[in-house]
């Protein structure tokens, strides 16, 4: 394991047999053995961030112990190894998203930076006064604020596709919003506060019919369903490594090469240039044009391992397992008197957002935490969604591949306890 040249890379091959049994993957996640407040950890906050399998942890340790070096500019062995692994991770992500070329994969800090990159670079160059950007009523703040900033700067207008009481987009309203003024459509593939899976294929086709490119916020779709950017025909796709069982601080922006090529750099600095004189700088090729400065090398390589890990299990199987849990969880929660599920779309992923009588979600969170159950409470960075449903906050249990029916049962018991405390 410690030999540098005979580099033994820990393969991320989870030992899962055909029928998905979460206990087979649970062993791969050391943190799940934690005891919290005297109770075994029940981790139901996967939409915020997911836990990391041992293979990812091993990769980070191996990188720092055996090959840490800066990439792309060293003649020495370690630098070459680090560069090879970092670029290898890019290729893994390319295959994972089924992008055409490695240069369409830009490493960023996460979804937020991916969206900001498009807003700053594509937006500033191609969006002007009178133009319109379309988003949806269920966006995360990270897919609202960058567009508001852009629109304010450019005198453009932000349009919002509304949704119904189940948390489904009103596609008729989308049709009405589309026009030749539409210069970009940026939508969340899967809502983090409602779980809704949006009809992005249809959204993309329609946007293209008026000549507008589409950016998909893939923060919540990537960990839970197979994504093929060519089949979707999206123009940009952003996701975060840390929600995909990978490290924090690294994510990906996919962009069609032709679009990325036409865009100006996002940040200036080292690595993004071919040559610099005080008179003129020649920018580097894709994707380096968008990767100024030393990137999160360990994180990128770790993300590559996370992609291997997830692919090894298969996203179809992960999705099937999470679906089954979602159905079970929805049924169990419906049995609790006074519980209101927020987000009841026909097509959704494993996100159970709810309110319980008049108990404030924050208090629910504290009671559950005492039971070792981690959920998220608050507005989930989607304040307009809370406003749409007329509530200040929700409690949200969000599922990952390692969650079990027993954990849903623990959640239900915890909620009974909350009802008892606040009776």
């Amino acid at each position: 394991m410690s030999s540098v040249n005979g580099k033994a890379i820990q393969r991320a091959t989870p030992k899962v047999t055909q029928a998905f049994d979460p206990s087979q993957v649970r062993d791969d996640f050391p943190i799940l053995k934690q005891v919290v407040n005297g109770k075994p950890l029940v981790y139901l906050d996967n939409a915020a961030t997911s836990q990391k399998p041992q293979a990812v942890l091993d990769t980070l340790l191996r990188y720092y112990t055996t090959e840490n070096a800066n990439i792309h500019r060293g003649v020495h062995t370690l630098s070459a190894l680090a560069t090879e692994d970092y670029e290898g991770a890019r290729a893994k992500v390319r295959r994972f998203l089924n992008a055409k070329e490695d240069r369409e994969i830009v490493f960023v800090r996460g979804t937020t930076e991916g969206i900001n990159l498009v807003a700053s670079s594509y937006g500033r160059r191609f969006i002007g006064p009178g133009d319109e950007v379309i988003i949806t009523a269920m966006e995360h703040h990270s897919n609202i604020v960058p567009w508001q900033m852009l629109c304010e700067e450019k005198g453009a207008t932000l349009r919002v596709i509304p949704m119904n009481d189940d948390g489904e987009l009103l596609m008729d309203e989308y049709d009405k919003l589309l026009s030749k003024r539409t210069k970009l459509v940026s939508v969340v593939y899967v809502s983090n506060s409602l779980g809704t899976i949006n009809p992005v294929r249809e959204i993309i086709t329609k946007a293209h019919s008026v000549g507008a490119p589409v950016l998909l916020d893939g923060a919540q779709s990537t960990p839970h369903m197979a994504v093929d950017v060519q089949a979707l025909d999206c123009d940009f796709y952003a996701f975060s490594g840390h929600k995909l069982y990978g490290p924090t601080g690294v994510g990906v922006l996919y962009g069609k090469a032709a679009l990325l090529d036409a865009m100006p750099p996002y940040q200036g600095g080292g690595d993004m240039i071919k040559s610099v004189t005080f008179a003129k700088t020649i920018y580097n090729d894709l994707p380096y044009k968008f990767e100024a400065g030393t990137p999160n090398i360990a994180g990128g390589i770790g993300l590559g391992t996370a992609v291997d890990y997830v692919t090894g299990i298969g996203l179809e199987r992960i999705a099937a397992h999470e679906d089954e849990l979602l159905v079970y969880g929805t049924k169990r929660l419906a049995e609790i008197e006074g519980l209101r599920l927020i987000g009841t779309a026909k097509h959704k992923t494993g996100i159970l957002s709810f309110t319980l009588k008049d108990i404030h979600p924050h208090d629910i969170g504290t009671v559950l935490d005492q039971e070792g159950i981690a959920i998220r409470t608050g507005h989930h960075c989607t304040q307009p969604v809370m406003e749409r449903f007329g509530i200040p906050a929700t409690a949200r249990a969000s599922l990952g591949m390692y969650n079990t029916k027993a954990e849903i049962d623990a959640l239900v018991l915890g909620l009974d306890k909350a009802l008892e405390v606040f009776s």
Binding site: I359, H360, P361, H362, D363, T366, V367, D369, Q370, T377, G378, H379, Q383, M386, P392, A393, V421, F422
Partner: protein
Amino acid sequence: MSQLQELYQEVVLEHTRRPRNFRKLEGATHSARGYNPFCGDNVTLLLKVEGGVVKDVGFQGSGCAISTSSASMMTEGIKGKTVEEAQKLFTAFHGMVTREQGADFDAELLGDLEILSGVSEFPTRVKCATLAWHALQAALTGRMDAVSTE
């Protein structure tokens, strides 16, 4: 008593259900808004201060059990007190909920507010308990902008 029972004592829950001085105060001389962007809790505090004494107080807003009951108990605690006394109470309350495990606090000065001492065992909830108090501080020092506990 478990930590949870200590946090959510019956008196605390009673203040949550029926907060005292929960109204819009007419003729207020001082006011401030407290907002916690993390959970969306917000409180608007209105004070009538005459001759250096808090003659009347009212609050409005929405929040969790801890922030609501703390605001309610605070209004009871400061009514009729001088501005100076109210500020001392703020310091004592803040000290109580942020203290290290087992550390002392000024129970005598705090009186009924001691019931919220269990908050110190829940570091993630300290901001809930102090939201109204920060608004008090802002109102008394004349800062009319919203204060934030984040």
